[in-house]
């Protein structure tokens, strides 16, 4: 249980509690005086009735009030030391002092406050930002109502192994709660609601404690497995003026190096891979950074190994001949050919090496007898109990509790050392076979893209192809879910650089994509990249206010709606059940369709300051609309095209 001790006690910067109390009273009096001076003469008379107050007014004339250094100023110093570029927030009174320190004391730079219209949007923006920038964004929120709103996005970040650092304001001391809001917006243990899906939390009881806990929080969040953390920050502690000469210290951040796999085990893995007839690399979040992408390509090419990528991260180039995922999900048939499977940061490995198993039916192994399965994952170092994102238990022949990306360089060197000229011939033959399969897959996709090419509503293949033609020679970044538009971008676009896509939500939750795309686009802005958001209609309507945030903060991005006017996956799910129950399948758009009235996404975006066109139903109109919208984006503004699409 997190409890607050009296901040006036056991606190090196406040060895005189009476002084602190006086300091706070004086601050409030000064504030009251300033308000009175700026107000009516009546108010002034009232203030002057008390000699003591009169004296203070004489000393502190408006404009000459001495600056009060609040606890939240120091907290901001701590945040600045950690290098936060932004803090996303929906305003709340329990962190009003941190808010004010951010904009006035910190002059709204590093971190800059991002005005969000929902706490879930704030956290999801931080999620998307990390995927591009590779460092955490801070989030301010109410400890209770704010954190409750934020919880879904915290869960997504947790499932997606993304560090987000939340500072939540809480009115810890009951004696200081004044209003109804203070009372009902306070909890004894506010972080309890997200503790099952965060890595660490604390409720610092003094300013020094805050400094240590904030630096510790950053360190824990950014050590693989990277995950969200929360600090509950007492409202009173934020607002408490710091005494003159307070001796506060900000600890140095000492990042923890991610663990490499045991060297002897890595050598054995290298031997198994080099000697394998058909090794497969199964990857989920193997590439934490651009270096991880480079290592994975090097390892796969050295071995000419098939790569089964769930595209939760930009692990592997989409059009690489060894890539077995052409956007419709990984082709798991190669698992049945494999004699060695190396899984990298893959919590759902069980569903890769097994087929079936739905709804209690027994699953069937895809493995050939004798095939060896190896896992390297930092998730073996940290597991929570309640939420089941760790997946079903998978038997493996060797498990290394280590960070995959940190282990790859050693593994690569060992593989290089072991490849003989004989093995090289085998490896090259395998690569040629996989390359030919990849070429055939590409030609099949080219034919598939013609299906319904001129249809209205527009096919998702047409949208992907029209868009690719106009961005392929630009510096672009897909900032929405990487499987958007039914995976068509992955079939044709060349995802090669780490920022070319941001992976998935982690939680497979609707409502993530729109705000995450804005956060990622914000990170792309300073690099001058064109951010592309392929936006599901249902997802946008969870948090449409994020459109305003993008416009307000001048975040350039091109959003193309995948407007099929339904939660179509749910349509299909309910249809399947209706079939099982021998009931009317035709009624399954009840409760799943987003029509009658149709939402006009162009008008919605326009109302929040975006350039927008649509609804576009004729595919011939799409190319010119994209051209116009891209011109707007290249001038630094967000633009949206509402494309009415086929259901799938």
């Amino acid at each position: 249980m997190n409890t607050m001790s009296n901040p006036e006690q056991n606190n090196s910067e406040q060895n005189n509690s009476e002084q602190s109390s006086v300091g706070r009273r004086k601050f409030l009096q000064l504030a009251a005086s300033a308000a009175a001076m700026a107000g009516s003469s009546t108010a002034m008379s009232a203030q002057q009735e008390t000699p003591a107050r009169q004296a203070e007014i004489t000393v502190n004339e408006p404009g000459a009030l001495p600056p009060v250094r609040a606890g939240s100023d120091f907290m901001l110093d701590v945040m600045k030391s950690l290098g936060f570029e932004y803090v996303a927030a929906n305003p709340g009174s329990s962190y009003r002092s941190l808010h004010e320190s951010t904009i006035n004391y910190g002059m709204n730079r590093n971190p800059e406050l991002l005005t969000c219209l929902h706490e879930e949007a704030a956290v999801a923006m931080a999620h998307g930002y990390f995927k591009i920038e590779g460092k955490p964004m801070a989030v301010y929120a109410y400890s209770t109502v704010g954190l409750q709103h934020a919880a879904m996005a915290v869960y997504s970040a947790y499932c997606d192994r993304v560090p987000v650092i939340l500072f939540v304001g809480n009115d810890t001391d009951a004696m200081k709660r004044v209003s109804r809001t203070d009372i009902v917006h306070t909890a004894q243990d506010p972080v309890a609601i997200v503790r099952d899906f965060t890595k660490w939390d604390d409720a610092p009881a003094s300013h020094g404690h805050f400094a240590e806990s904030a630096v510790r929080a950053y360190k824990i969040a950014t050590t693989p497995p990277t995950l969200p953390v929360v600090l509950s920050v007492d409202k009173y502690l934020q607002e408490l003026p710091l005494p003159e000469g307070a001796n506060l210290r900000i600890p140095k951040l000492s990042p923890t190096l991610p663990p490499q796999g045991d060297y002897a085990a890595v050598k054995e893995i290298a031997r198994m891979l080099v000697n394998a007839e058909f090794p497969v690399l199964a990857v989920e979040r193997a590439a934490r950074t651009p270096a991880g992408l480079k290592y994975l390509v090097e390892l796969a090419e050295l071995l000419q190994a098939a790569v089964v990528d769930t595209i939760q991260r930009m692990n592997f180039p989409s059009r690489h001949p060894l890539n077995q995922n052409d956007g419709r999900g990984p082709d798991l048939s190669v698992i049945s050919e494999a004699d060695v499977i190396l899984a990298l940061e893959h919590p759902l490995l069980q569903s890769v090496v097994n087929a079936g198993g739905e709804e209690g039916s027994p699953s069937r192994s895809r493995l050939t007898p004798g095939a060896k399965v190896i896992s390297i994952s930092s998730l073996d170092l940290f597991t929570r109990s309640n939420y089941q994102d760790f997946g079903r238990y998978q038997e493996v022949d060797m498990a290394l509790a280590a960070d995959a990306e940190a282990t790859l360089p050693v593994l690569i060197e060992e593989v290089k050392r072991l490849i003989t000229s004989d093995r090289r011939r085998v490896i090259e033959a395998r690569g040629a076979k996989l390359a030919e399969a990849s070429r055939r897959r590409m030609e099949r996709n080219r034919v598939r893209a013609t299906y319904g090419w001129d249809d209205s509503p527009i096919s998702t293949a047409r949208i992907a192809v029209e868009l690719w033609a106009q961005i392929k020679n630009k510096d672009w970044s897909l900032v929405s879910r990487s499987d958007a538009m039914n995976g068509w971008p992955h079939r044709f676009w060349k995802f090669e650089k780490y920022y070319h896509h941001i992976g998935q939500s982690g939680s497979v939750a609707i409502g993530y994509s729109a705000p995450a795309s804005v956060g990622a686009a914000l990170a792309n802005r300073k690099y001058g990249r064109i951010s592309i958001n392929l936006q599901h209609d249902g997802d946008l309507m969870y948090l449409p206010g994020v459109l305003w945030t993008a416009a307000h903060h001048r975040i350039p991005m091109l959003t193309i709606m995948h407007n099929n006017r339904a939660y179509n996956t749910e349509v299909m799910q309910v249809q399947q059940i209706a079939g099982q129950h021998h009931r009317d399948i035709g009624r399954c758009r009840i409760g799943t369709a987003i029509e009658d009235p149709n939402i006009d996404y162009a008008k919605l975006a326009q109302s929040m300051g975006w350039f927008a066109e649509g609804p576009i139903t004729d595919p011939k109109d799409l190319g010119p609309a994209i051209r116009r919208a891209l011109a707007v984006v290249e001038k630094g503004q967000p633009a949206l095209i509402d494309a009415v699409t086929q259901p799938v």
Binding site: R446, G452, V465, M572
Partner: protein
């Protein structure tokens, strides 16, 4: 009613996945084992019923496929089509008697009426993808 849909079509049956007019392996035309009479179908009504029964969710508005199989330009025999809709395999919901034979005939006519997709070589945007 579209008159084209009223045509009776005599079909050769080869299992459940034989395509009309599509040569089989070896390039020889299939030899019909028996003939099948397909009820007249109304294309416009078939299009409406295809939507009303929710087929579009998986197969798209013009039967081009998606989560479900591509139906346009790939028609199986009417009898096989009807059997499959009523008692499918896999994750497709079983329509049983929810859809009448007349409706199925209309849907079948609609699917048959969908023009072929263009050759990818004729679409410059697709050919620009290297």
């Amino acid at each position: 009613m579209n008159c084209r849909a009223a045509n009776l079509v005599v079909l050769g049956i080869l299992g459940t996945v034989l395509s009309f007019g599509v040569p089989i392996a070896g390039g020889q035309a299939p030899q019909p084992r028996r003939t099948e009479t397909v009820p007249a179908g109304n294309i416009e009504n078939g299009k409406k019923r295809f939507q009303a029964h929710g087929c579009v969710s998986c197969h798209s508005f013009s039967g081009q496929g998606g989560a479900g199989a591509r139906l346009a330009q790939n028609p199986i025999t009417f009898q096989a089509f009807m059997n499959y809709v009523r008692k499918p395999k896999g994750s497709m919901p079983a329509f049983g008697s929810q859809v009448t034979e007349a409706e199925l005939a209309d849907i079948y006519a609609f699917l048959k009426s969908i023009p072929p997709s263009p050759d990818p070589k004729t679409i410059p945007l697709l050919n620009q993808i290297d």
